[in-house]
């Protein structure tokens, strides 16, 4: 990396363009897309600092609306529960990030080692199915099990002489339910990247390892995992950016928006949703999104810095 930088000594801008002409052309279509679909709309973040009022078209309105500084952000912290909500968001996401790497990697390794490839395919396809069910549909299915009056779980409990559990008001169970369901839904999807990476590993590495008498476990430890490291690192860095964002359906639909569960299910996205139900102030919703993004951005930068300190090759940039 350092070497290649030195190889290209300070050139003029146009010289560099000339030397990289072909690659530049390859980058162009994507770059144009990003300008059109990602950068042009960015002016929208200005709304976060405005008290948006209509006076003609959007731009005229935007310009003529009163500038209110950070007023639109205040509601995020005005609630007495702000601390609990932030804590929930961060803790859940932290757990998701860790499990989102560990579980899929394990499953990918298991699938990879299976002797019967036919079954591997079937397993892998089945695990993908939950991905297709929306949270609303999943919440109906879950309700069939947890329904306090006639759900399957309480039926079983009662058959063994226990009292039924009022699942939708007992908050103790929900951190586990939420974590379980999120992993259940995502595992098939998340496994794919790792499976493909394992697939892309040059087979000669394993041959060499076998020659050296490496056991299966040693092969995983010294060949597979180190070669998965770049992908894992990149995915981790990107996941860190989303630490303030929560999957709305998971926290809203799944617990059926049940009040007594709020202490463990209220996260930033559900809080924002409820808060803005009362007033459709678009400045406030942009402010909330901007807040989430900014924190994510700072965290990504930090994570990237740390990674590049340890191993520059695997950093995001």
């Amino acid at each position: 990396m350092k070497q290649s930088k030195n190889k290209v000594p300070k050139q003029g801008f146009w010289n560099r363009v000339k030397n990289n002409k072909e690659l530049l052309i390859l980058s162009m279509p994507g770059a144009v897309w990003f300008i059109l679909f990602a950068y042009l709309p960015l002016f929208g973040v200005l709304v976060a600092f405005k008290k948006y009022r209509l006076s003609g078209g959007f731009f005229q309105s935007l310009i003529e609306s009163e500038f209110v500084g950070f007023d639109n952000f205040k509601f995020l912290f005005s609630s007495g529960d702000a601390w609990i909500i932030l804590r929930n968001t961060v803790l859940y996401n932290f757990t998701f990030i860790i499990l989102g790497v560990v579980l899929p990697v394990i499953v990918a390794l298991l699938l990879n080692e299976l002797r019967n490839k036919g079954m591997a395919k079937i397993y892998q396809s089945s695990m993908f199915l939950p991905y297709f069910l929306s949270w609303v549909v999943v919440s109906y299915c879950l309700f069939a099990f947890l329904n306090p009056e006639k759900g399957y779980f309480n039926n079983i409990l009662q058959q063994f002489g226990h009292d039924g559990i009022s699942w939708y008001t007992e908050k103790g169970y929900w951190p586990f339910i939420i974590i379980f369901m999120s992993q259940w839904k995502g595992i098939g999807y998340n496994t794919v990247v790792y499976l493909a990476s394992i697939c892309g590993i040059d087979k000669t590495y394993y041959e060499a390892a076998v020659l050296d008498g490496a056991s299966k476990w040693q092969q995983i430890k010294y060949v597979t995992l180190p070669l998965l490291k770049p992908v894992i690192t990149i995915l981790l860095i990107m996941a860190v950016g989303g630490i303030f964002k929560a999957d709305f359906g998971l926290f809203f639909q799944l617990p059926k928006d049940s009040g007594p569960l709020y202490p463990v299910t209220n996260v930033l996205d559900t809080y924002i949703f409820r808060a803005l139900k009362a007033n459709g102030e678009i400045g406030m919703s942009s402010a909330a999104a901007l807040f989430q993004s900014t924190v994510g951005f700072v965290l990504i930068m930090i994570a990237n810095k740390i990674v590049s300190k340890i191993d520059n090759e695997n950093a995001l940039f």
Partner: protein, 497 residues
Amino acid sequence: MMKLKKIAALGLALVMAATSLTACGGKKGETNENGEEIVELTWYQVGDTQKDAQKVIEKVNEYTTEKIGVKLNIINVGWGDYNQKMQVVINTGDKWDMCFTCSWANDYLQNANKGAFLELDEYLEKEGKEMHDLVDPRFWEAAKIGGVTYGVPHEKEIGSCPMWVFTKEYVDKYNIPYQDIHTLEDLEPWLKLIHEKEPDVVPLYLTKDYTAPTYMDKIQDPVGIEYGDDTLTVKNVFETERMKSTLKTMRKYYTEGYVNKDAATASDDKSIKRFVTKGDGQPYAELIWGKDLGYEVVATEIMDTQITNASARGALTAINKNCEHPEKAVEFLNLMYTDEYLRNLLNYGIEGEHYEFVEPAKEEIQAAEGKEYVYDKKVRLNEETKKDYSVPYWVQGGMFNTYVLENEPLDKWAAFKEFNDASKEAPSFGFDFDLEPVSTQVAGFRNILDEFGKSLYTGSVDPDEYLPQLQKKLEATGIQDVIDEMQSQIDEWKAQK
């Protein structure tokens, strides 16, 4: 950094140029037989698109182009998407001429305050005069915000009328004088009776959207003015004696086993047999509830029907402030409010295809004679095609012009009129709260109310323990600021009145 700014400025300029270019579109040149230029009006409505909508609109356009030189382009947006979609359409200054608005979707007050809607007063004296005269003046009063009218109200039920809805089977079986039952407390002996005699029946069936009987206009939930309080003192509903005792009673019912255990999270499960439940009524609502449940019900009012801003703004049509042909839009609405053919076409579809006329029974005609809004025919929907065109009648205004369905009473609209005339205005009727100075505080309320409200209302939790918690959180979020602000606004409003 400078460079970045320049690029950003350039980009913004480009976007602006491009958008302003397209702002003035619209077809021109077409004229109708009278030589009027034909204007196309884009009309956003809530509710799912109907399969035969295009067919019906063609028919409508045929008629309206000839009559007033207007063509409609109706865009339906599904219930769940309407708020979001309209927020985008309105805030981007997209092309739209008319839209459905009300107090519970595509919020009327907010949008009017934001400057999205056209001020209609001037037009209502000319193009909209007839329709202005037709609709109950109290609807127009409710449509006014700061003295200005921003929407044309649809004359549905004007007040909110919470009711106890009893399953007729048990009322008959135990000879229950249901008409004498009004307050929550009145229910007690009968709940007890049912609880003892009918173990399979839930005496008081409640679901998560249940609100205990509230004797207050919650202008900004949970803050408002109590019904009958002419001093206009702003209060937090959870601090009123009435609510405190209601919650205690609810708790008692819950612990006695009168209420279903999962009330705070339940959504209506029709398979559950219930003796009584709560519903928000209107004339002949029993018929609709009964049809929905599959058995007969009877209902009684919990309290007098009260008119509040929210209840009287149950459905309106607003016109875009930037509409190019506002007079045409008003003219069209006026036609819809006054023209039977057009209104019924929009409501039921095409005669002979989606419905046919039937003669009402002689006795019914006689009984309804002399009443207002009674027609000499009823509508029978075509079983085959009715699902291809079925719009809720109140999404468009002028519904007193619609014929009634075969299974509806002939005097349905007369009953609506009577109902509306009998409704009382709440003391706070006509007052609009500008929540801007306290929008931060208000944003925090919903989370707190959703967290505790359902459990408290249904009696699932002990109010002695949870009410103080709720109060504490509301105070931490700044409820006093909201009360103070509202009090000062309402004092000012009172002084001007």
